[in-house]
């Protein structure tokens, strides 16, 4: 049980590290949002599952379920909000090969 929980914790830490590295290394804002959101979501899941395996008690597991559900709903919504705000604040990278939002013809 302990070994399994540590495996999950290490995987979670690795994905967190990857998320930070992605935010640092990616060349434009949209790609930074992508790397940050995906890596931290899976990292948080993995860490939470690891902690749940280390403490297999109902009072821990129930709260961990709440955190997981909250993160899975809120994290993509937050990143889409940042993406839309980035687009609206005219901070559009010039390497896009196609821009459907512009073709829509408003703003």
């Amino acid at each position: 049980m302990t070994i399994a929980s540590y495996v999950f914790l290490i995987i979670g830490g690795l994905f967190y590290l990857l998320g930070g590295l992605g935010v640092l290394r990616m060349p434009d804002t949209f790609n930074r949002i992508q790397a940050g959101t995906k890596a931290t979501t899976l990292g948080a899941f993995s860490i939470l599952i690891g902690v749940a395996l280390a403490n297999p008690v109902w009072s821990w597991i129930s709260k961990i379920i709440i955190i997981i559900v909250f993160i899975i709903i809120s994290n993509p919504i937050g990143s889409s909000a940042i993406a839309k705000a980035t687009y609206n604040s005219k901070n559009i990278p010039d390497n896009l090969v196609q821009d459907a939002l512009k073709e829509r013809g408003e703003e």
Partner: protein, 160 residues
């Protein structure tokens, strides 16, 4: 019916937070009843007798696919981040969806955000605007099949 589902959801969250004892159940029911009256105008989902089957479908078909896609997405991010020269061909594409309800479209957009190489920016009527790292398809139809394809079929059976 709307009242019942809102009430049950709120009570479930409260009990998960507070634990199952008699006092908590009584207090949680009172609080959830009061909150249900306040919140019911913000909820707009309909349910019918097929709801349990849909819930089971959601739990046992959608969630495993979703987790598998999430892991693939992270491996994709890892490959991109760790390669010395980052391979990119980004663009914002339009994806058509057949789903009608707001919750269905929200779930589809969230799933698209957490799948490999895509990030949904906005939803307008039947179109989802998606930023992809790698534009593969030539037309909108092709992009739709690539990006929304795997989830559209599953979610169509759940939210319709």
């Amino acid at each position: 019916m709307k009242y019942v589902t809102t009430f049950v959801t709120l009570l479930l969250i409260y009990l998960l937070l507070a634990g199952f004892t008699v006092n908590e159940v009584i207090l949680g029911s009172i609080v959830s009843a009061i909150l249900t009256i306040i919140l019911v105008k913000y909820t707009d989902f309909r349910i019918n007798w097929k709801f349990p089957i849909k819930l089971l479908k959601f739990l046992f078909i959608y969630i495993p696919v979703f987790i598998w896609k999430l892991i693939l997405a992270n491996l994709d991010v890892a490959r991109r981040v760790l390669s010395p020269k980052i391979p990119l061909n980004p663009g914002i594409v339009k994806v058509k969806t057949e789903l009608k309800g707001d919750l269905g479209k929200l779930t589809l957009a969230n799933s698209i955000t957490l799948t490999p190489g895509t990030l949904s920016i906005d939803v307008e009527d039947q179109y989802i605007f998606v930023h992809t790292v790698d534009v593969k398809g030539k037309s909108d139809v092709e992009n739709t099949a690539n990006i929304a394809g795997p989830f559209e079929k599953i979610l169509g059976g759940i939210f319709d």
